[in-house]
C-alpha cells in the first residue's frame, strides 16, 4: 500500500470522517476484487465519471477557496491511492492467474519426446572413418582404387611369384575371359587386397607419398562366421627418401593407441609378405585382459590387427622408383576384424545382413 498517500489522507480527513471512511472502503473494494473483470468494475465504481471518488470533486466550484483547496487535495490523494492500489492488485491477480494456468498445463516429463528420424552409420563405415581420420591427422591423403583389377597390380607388381597359392582359382575370384591364361598379368580379377592402390599411386606420382586407401576386397571364401567373400581393408603406405622401419613402428603405434586406447601396448612380430621386407604382423595388447590371457585373445594376451613391412625393392623397381634412393613402408588391416575386436562382434555375417536391429546400434 502506498503509505505516503494513506498518511496524507489520514491527516487531511481529520475534519471529514466520511472521506476517511471512503478511503478505507475503496481499499477494501480493490482488495476484494478476485478477477481482472471484478477489478475493472471496482475501478469504474471508484474512478469512473460517476464513481465515488469522482463525486468528491463534484460541486467543488461552489465552495469557498479554503475549503475548495482542502477538498481538492483530499480528492487527488484518494485518486492517487486508488490508482496505485488498482495497479498493484492487477499485477497480483495476473501472477496468480499465470501460476494457476501453469499448474493446469503441467507436462508429464517422462513421456517420450518427438524425434526427427535418425539414421545410423554402418559399423564398417564408422571404423573406416575412424581409421582414415587418424591417418589424415598424421598427414596422409586418401586415394581409392578399382575393385576389379588387373593381375599386374594385384599380384605381379607386388612381387607375387607365378604359382603362388593366392593366385589360384581356389583363392581368387577371376573375371571370365574367353581365352584365360593362368598367372597372366593381363588377367582380370577381383582385388584380393587393397595393396594394388600402392602400385597405382606410385606409378602416377612421385615421392614423398603418404597415402591411406580404404575399400572392398574379395576372396573366394565360403560365407561363415569368420569368412566372407567380400570384406574391407585399409591400406596405407609412405614413401620418401628417408623412411625407416622405425617410422613404420612409430606410426602404427600411434595409430593403434589412438584407435584402441592410449593404454594399449603394441608389438611387431616378424612375418612374411611377398611385397614387403622386412615384414611384420602387428599385435595390440588384449582389451579384455590387457595381456593376462582370456578367451578373446585365446590366452595369448595379444590381438593381431594388421600386417606391415618395408616396401620391397622389387615393388619399387616395378614402378620405376630407384630403390637406392627411396625407402617406404606399407601396412594393411581388415576392417571387419578391427570392428569385431573393438565392438565384440563375433560373426562376420552380421555386417552384410543389414538387420535393422544391428544397424540401429551404431
Amino acid at each position: 500500500m502506498d503509505e505516503n498517500s494513506m498518511n496524507e489522507i489520514e491527516q487531511l480527513t481529520q475534519e471529514r470522517p466520511e472521506l476517511a471512511a471512503l478511503a478505507r472502503e475503496s481499499l477494501d473494494a480493490i482488495e476484494a476484487a478476485g478477477t481482472p473483470a471484478e477489478l475493472e468494475e471496482t475501478r469504474v465504481r471508484l474512478l469512473g465519471k460517476k464513481g465515488s471518488i469522482a463525486a468528491v470533486f463534484k460541486g467543488l466550484g461552489s465552495l469557498p477557496p479554503e475549503e475548495k483547496r482542502t477538498l481538492g487535495q483530499i480528492g487527488n490523494a484518494l485518486r492517487t491511492l486508488a490508482e496505485s492500489e488498482l495497479t498493484a492488485r492487477a499485477a497480483r491477480l495476473k501472477d496468480a492467474e499465470t501460476k494457476e494456468r501453469l499448474l493446469r498445463e503441467a507436462t508429464d516429463v517422462t513421456l517420450p519426446g518427438r524425434r526427427l528420424p535418425q539414421g545410423h552409420d554402418h559399423l564398417l563405415a564408422r571404423v573406416i572413418d575412424d581409421v582414415t581420420d587418424i591417418f589424415v591427422s598424421l598427414g596422409y591423403k586418401v586415394v581409392a582404387g578399382p575393385e576389379v583389377e588387373l593381375d599386374f597390380y594385384n599380384f605381379e607388381a607386388l612381387n607375387t611369384p607365378p604359382h603362388h597359392p593366392a593366385r589360384s582359382l581356389q583363392d581368387t575370384l577371376y573375371v571370365r575371359r574367353s581365352d584365360p591364361v593362368s598367372d597372366d598379368p593381363k588377367d582380370i580379377l577381383l582385388r584380393t587386397h587393397t595393396s594394388p592402390v600402392q602400385v597405382r599411386v606410385m606409378e602416377s606420382e612421385r615421392p614423398p607419398l603418404y597415402v591411406i586407401s580404404p575399400g572392398k576386397a574379395y576372396r573366394k571364401d565360403e560365407i561363415d562366421a569368420t569368412h566372407s567373400p567380400v570384406f574391407h581393408q585399409v591400406e596405407g603406405f609412405a614413401v620418401s627418401e628417408d623412411i625407416t622401419m622405425g617410422d613404420l613402428k612409430g606410426t602404427l603405434e600411434v595409430f593403434a593407441r589412438k584407435l584402441f586406447g592410449e593404454e594399449r601396448a603394441v608389438r611387431f612380430r616378424p612375418h612374411f609378405f611377398p611385397f614387403t621386407e622386412p615384414s611384420a604382423e602387428v599385435d595390440v595388447s588384449c582389451f579384455v585382459c590387457a595381456g593376462g590371457g582370456c578367451s578373446l585373445c585365446k590366452g595369448v594376451g595379444w590381438l593381431e590387427i594388421m600386417g606391415c613391412g618395408m616396401i620391397d625393392p622389387a615393388v619399387f623397381s616395378h614402378v620405376g622408383y630407384d630403390p637406392e634412393k627411396y625407402t617406404g613402408f606399407a601396412f594393411g588391416g581388415g576392417v571387419e576384424r578391427i570392428a569385431m575386436l573393438k565392438y565384440g562382434v563375433d560373426d562376420m555375417r552380421v555386417f552384410f545382413e543389414n538387420d535393422m536391429r544391428f544397424l540401429r546400434q551404431f
Binding site: 513421456l111 563405415a125 576389379v148 575370384l173 577371376y174 575371359r177 603418404y210 573366394k220 567373400p229 617410422d247
Partner: protein, 808 residues
C-alpha cells in the same frame, strides 16, 4: 609344424621355459600358434602283451582280446582295428588316470554284454597326439608290466609352429634348433651320421640314371641290406606321434623321422622290387599309368616328374610313392632315396594331382640341395641301428651340376638406413654367422649364404635377418613428417562425406551388401536387352551362393536387404547403400566402376508417436530427401523429369539430372518387381550417381540479408492438369526479378472451385531487398509482372491474390 621340445633339446641346450621359448620364436618370425602339453598326469598304465584276439560275440567291429599285463592275464573288449596278437600296447588298468580321456579314474565297463576291466590305449588317449585311429604299438623290447613311462617318455610339450612360405628350413627340428641357437647363442649339435659301412659297394647293388637334371638336380641314394622290419622303438614312435605322424614300421618310420629331423624328405624302396635294381628319373609319358600309395590308379602326363625303374614308374617324384615298390614286412634290402627336386615342378604336379604330403610341402618350398647326402647317411645309420643288416659302402650321388652357395653383399649403412637403427658391422656379421652364413668383413660384408636358405637372395633379405634376430622391439620408434600440403581430404572427398552424412541426418541408415549379382536379377527388374546395366562383368569361378556377376545396379541388393528386414519384422525402413556398380567395357579391359548411392523407403518414415498419428512414406518423402541432399551439397541445377525405368511405377518415377547430366532415378517400385523379390507393400527406391552430383555441388555463397522483413504474398495460378509444377515455378522465378527471394508451393487444389481438367497451384512468394526497404507497392508491382507472365506464358488464370502480414 609340430615340434617336440624333448626332441628339440637333442640338438640344443634350452634354458628357457616352454613359454619363453614360444615367445622368443614368435618374436623372431616363427609364430607359435598353440602350445600342447602331452602326457601329463598319467598313472596306472603299463606295457601289456596281447596273447590272443577273438571276435566279440555281439559286435562285428569289436574284438575280445587276451591281455597279459605282467600281473594277470585277462580278457578285455577292444575296438581298435589294428590290435594283433603278439604285439605290445599301453594298457590302462582299472583305476588308471588318463587326463586326456576323463578326470575320473578308469572303471570296469560292460561293453555289448561282455565285461571288460581296463583298456588298450591310442596315442590320443595317452594325450601325446590327436591320433585315435588305432591303439599305439609299442616296441618289441618293451618290458611287459613296466610302467608306460619307462617304455616311452610321455611328458612333453609340443609347439605348433606356423612356418612362413619363405622358410622351408624351419620345417624340421634341426632347422628350428638353428633358429633357437641364433636367438640364444647356445651351440647347435647336429645328429650323428657315423656309419659302419660293412656291406658291399653301393654301386654294385643299384644304379641311378638322371634323365631330367632340371627337374631333379641331385639324387643321392644309399642301400641297407638284410634289414629286419618290425615296429620302431617307443622313443621314435612317440616323437613321430607327437609330430602328428603315425608310426608304421622301423624302415618307414626312419624315413619319416629324418624328414622331420632334417627337413629332407626321403623315400625307401624295396630294392628287390626295383626292376634291374635301377632308378631312372624322368618325365612321365602322356597317359602313363601308375597306382600310387593311396591306392588310386592315375594317368600321368609329360609335366610329371617320376621315379621309375625300367618297367615303369615307382614314385611320383617328391610327392608320393607307388604301391609296386613299397616297403613291406618282408622287405630285406632297402634303397634310400634322398633327392633334390625343382620346387615349381613339385608345386605344379602336387596341385594337378591334388595330393599334398609332408614331402611335397617341403619340396615345393625348396629343400636344401646341399643336404641330401647327410640325410641319406643319417637314415642309413638309423635304419642299421633299428633294423639291423649292413649298410652298403659308399653312396650314389647323381649331381651333374653343383648348386653353389650364394654370395651376397650387405652394406651396414644400408641396413641401418632401412631399419632406422645404429648397428655396427660386427653385430650384423655375428647375427648372420649364427644363422649359418660365412661372413667376410670389408666396406660391405661379403656373406656366403648356406644352401638351406633359398630365401636369402638379395641384400634386403640379409637386412631382414639382422632385424629379425636383433629383435624388432629394439628398433627405435619415430614418426615421419607426413605429406604436408598433399595431406587431408580433397574437396570432392569432403563433399562425399557430407553427402552420406546428409542421408543419415535425414533418418536413413547405411547398409553394406556384397558387390555380386545374379544376372537373372536383371530379368526380374525387367530391364531392356540393350540397357547399359545388362553389360555384366561375369566371374570365371563364382561362389555358388552369391551370384556369378558383379552388380550393375545396387537395387537388387537393397531389395533383398528390405525383404530380409520385413521378414524379420522390421517393416519401417529408411536405408541407403554407398557402393560401386560395375559396367563391363569388354572382356579384355577393366570395367567402369560407378560410385552409386542406393536409397530405399518402406513403411513409415516417422515412427508412431503418442501425440499424433503415423503416416506411410510416399514418393515425396524420397524426393524431399534428395532435395535436401542437393541443398546440403549446394546443388542449384538438380532437375526431376519423368523416368521410364521398367521396374518403377510409370507415373511415379523421376529421372534426376544435375547440370544436364544423368544423376540417377527415384520412384515407386513396380508391384510386379516387388512381388518378384517377395516384397509386400509400397517400396520407394532410387539410385544416385555420386560423380554428377558432386560435380554440380557449389560452395555456399554469402548474400547480404536485408534489415527489414521480406514482403510475403500468396498467388494461386489455375493451370491445365497436365502442366508440370516446375514449369509454373520457372515462370514465377523468371518474371519475379532480383527481389524475389523465395518461391514455395504450399497447396495443390482440384475441385469445385476450379474448372474440370484444371488444377490450382498456390505459391507463397517472398520479396526482399538487401539494400533498403522494399515497399509494399514495389513488391506488388513485381507480383503484377509475375501474374502477367503466368497468364501470358501458361494461359493461367489467377485465383487468389492475398497479402499476408509483413512481420509474420
Amino acid at each position: 609344424m609340430r615340434i617336440s621340445i624333448e626332441w628339440l633339446k637333442e640338438y640344443i641346450d634350452i634354458e628357457m621355459t616352454a613359454e619363453e621359448l614360444a615367445d622368443a620364436l614368435s618374436m623372431s618370425g616363427t609364430a607359435v600358434d598353440r602350445v600342447h602339453t602331452l602326457g601329463g598326469g598319467i598313472s596306472g598304465v603299463v606295457v601289456a602283451d596281447v596273447r590272443e584276439v577273438k571276435p566279440h560275440p555281439n559286435a562285428d567291429t569289436l574284438s575280445i582280446v587276451v591281455v597279459d599285463d605282467g600281473e594277470t592275464v585277462r580278457e578285455i573288449v577292444c575296438g581298435a582295428p589294428n590290435v594283433r596278437a603278439g604285439m605290445k600296447y599301453p594298457f590302462a588298468r582299472e583305476g588308471a588316470r588318463l587326463p586326456a580321456v576323463s578326470s575320473k579314474p578308469l572303471k570296469k565297463a560292460k561293453i555289448r554284454g561282455v565285461e571288460s576291466a581296463g583298456m588298450l590305449l591310442s596315442a590320443a588317449e595317452l594325450g601325446i597326439s590327436e591320433d585315435h585311429t588305432g591303439i599305439l604299438e609299442l616296441a618289441g623290447d618293451a618290458e611287459v608290466g613296466a610302467d608306460v613311462h619307462q617304455a616311452l617318455p610321455l611328458e612333453d610339450i609340443v609347439l605348433e609352429l606356423e612356418i612362413t612360405p619363405n622358410r622351408p628350413d624351419c620345417m624340421s627340428v634341426v632347422g628350428v634348433a638353428r633358429e633357437v641357437s641364433a636367438l640364444t647363442g647356445a651351440p647347435l649339435r647336429l645328429p650323428s651320421v657315423e656309419l659302419d659301412e660293412s656291406g658291399p659297394p653301393v654301386d654294385t647293388l643299384a644304379r641311378v640314371i638322371l634323365e631330367d637334371p632340371q627337374g631333379c638336380p641331385r639324387y643321392t641314394a644309399r642301400a641297407v641290406m638284410g634289414v629286419k622290419t618290425g615296429p620302431s622303438p617307443a622313443w621314435m614312435q612317440r616323437r613321430l606321434t607327437a609330430a602328428g605322424l603315425r608310426p608304421i614300421s622301423n624302415v618307414v618310420d626312419v624315413t619319416n623321422y629324418v624328414l622331420l629331423e632334417l627337413g629332407q624328405p626321403l623315400h625307401a624302396f624295396d630294392l628287390d622290387l626295383l626292376a634291374e635294381r635301377t632308378i631312372i628319373v624322368r618325365r612321365a609319358a602322356r597317359g602313363e599309368p601308375m597306382r600310387t600309395l593311396d591306392g588310386v590308379d592315375r594317368q600321368l602326363d609329360e609335366a610329371t616328374l617320376v621315379i621309375t625303374d625300367p618297367s615303369g614308374p615307382v614314385a611320383v617324384a617328391g610327392i608320393i610313392g607307388g604301391e609296386d615298390s613299397e616297403v613291406t614286412e618282408s622287405s630285406a634290402n632297402i634303397l634310400i632315396e634322398s633327392a633334390h627336386f625343382d620346387p615349381t615342378s613339385i608345386l605344379l604336379t602336387s596341385k594337378r594331382l591334388g595330393i599334398r604330403t609332408e614331402a611335397s610341402a617341403r619340396f615345393e618350398r625348396g629343400v636344401d640341395p646341399g643336404g641330401t647326402a647327410f640325410a641319406a647317411a643319417r637314415a642309413a645309420r638309423l635304419m642299421n641301428e633299428l633294423a639291423g643288416g649292413q649298410v652298403a659302402s659308399g653312396e650314389i650321388d647323381a649331381y651333374p651340376e653343383e648348386i653353389k652357395p650364394r654370395t651376397l653383399e650387405l652394406r651396414p649403412s644400408r641396413a641401418n638406413k632401412v631399419l632406422g637403427t645404429d648397428l655396427g658391422a660386427g653385430e650384423m656379421a655375428g647375427i648372420l654367422q649364427s644363422l649359418g652364413a660365412r661372413v667376410e668383413a670389408g666396406e660391405a660384408l661379403t656373406v656366403t649364404v648356406p644352401t638351406f636358405r633359398p630365401d636369402l637372395e638379395r641384400e634386403i633379405d640379409l637386412v631382414e635377418e639382422v632385424a629379425r634376430i636383433n629383435g624388432f622391439d629394439r628398433i627405435p620408434e619415430t614418426v615421419p613428417q607426413g605429406g604436408g600440403l598433399a595431406a587431408g581430404l580433397t574437396p570432392q572427398q569432403r563433399l562425399e562425406k557430407k553427402m552420406l552424412a546428409g542421408l543419415t541426418a535425414q533418418g536413413l541408415s547405411q547398409a553394406v551388401t556384397y558387390s555380386f549379382m545374379n544376372p537373372a536379377d536383371l530379368d526380374l527388374l525387367g530391364l531392356a536387352d540393350d540397357d547399359k546395366r545388362r553389360r555384366v562383368v561375369t566371374l570365371l569361378n563364382p561362389l555358388a551362393e552369391t551370384g556369378e556377376g558383379m552388380r550393375t545396379t545396387l537395387l537388387p541388393g537393397m531389395l533383398r536387404v528390405a525383404g530380409g528386414n520385413i521378414n524379420r519384422g522390421s517393416k519401417d525402413l529408411a536405408l541407403f547403400e554407398a557402393g560401386r556398380a560395375f559396367i563391363s567395357q569388354g572382356e579384355e579391359v577393366l570395367p567402369v566402376e560407378i560410385d552409386t548411392v542406393a536409397l530405399l523407403l518402406a513403411g513409415d518414415l516417422h515412427p508412431q508417436h503418442w501425440s499424433g498419428r503415423q503416416t506411410a512414406c510416399d514418393f515425396f518423402d524420397l524426393k524431399g530427401i534428395v532435395e535436401n541432399l542437393a541443398d546440403v551439397l549446394g546443388i542449384t541445377v538438380l532437375e526431376f523429369g519423368r523416368a521410364s525405368e521398367e521396374f518403377l511405377v510409370p507415373m511415379s518415377a523421376a529421372v534426376l539430372s544435375a547440370g544436364n547430366e544423368y544423376a540417377g532415378y527415384i520412384g515407386q517400385l513396380h508391384p510386379r518387381v516387388a512381388s518378384a523379390f517377395d516384397l509386400e507393400g509400397d517400396i520407394y527406391c532410387g539410385e544416385l550417381l555420386a560423380a554428377p552430383l558432386l560435380a554440380a555441388a557449389n560452395e555456399s555463397v554469402y548474400s547480404p540479408v536485408g534489415r527489414f522483413p521480406n514482403v510475403k504474398v500468396d498467388v494461386a495460378a489455375v493451370v491445365d492438369e497436365a502442366a508440370d509444377a516446375i514449369e509454373v515455378e520457372r515462370v514465377i522465378r523468371r518474371s519475379g526479378g532480383d527481389t524475389l527471394k523465395s518461391v514455395r508451393l504450399f497447396d495443390v487444389y482440384r475441385g469445385p472451385q476450379v474448372a474440370q481438367g484444371k488444377k490450382s497451384l498456390a505459391y507463397a512468394l517472398e520479396f526482399g531487398s538487401a539494400s533498403g526497404t522494399l515497399t509494399d507497392e514495389q513488391a506488388h508491382r513485381r507480383l503484377d509482372a509475375v501474374i502477367a507472365s503466368l497468364q501470358k506464358e501458361l494461359g493461367a488464370s489467377i485465383r487468389g491474390r492475398e497479402r499476408e502480414g509483413e512481420a509474420r
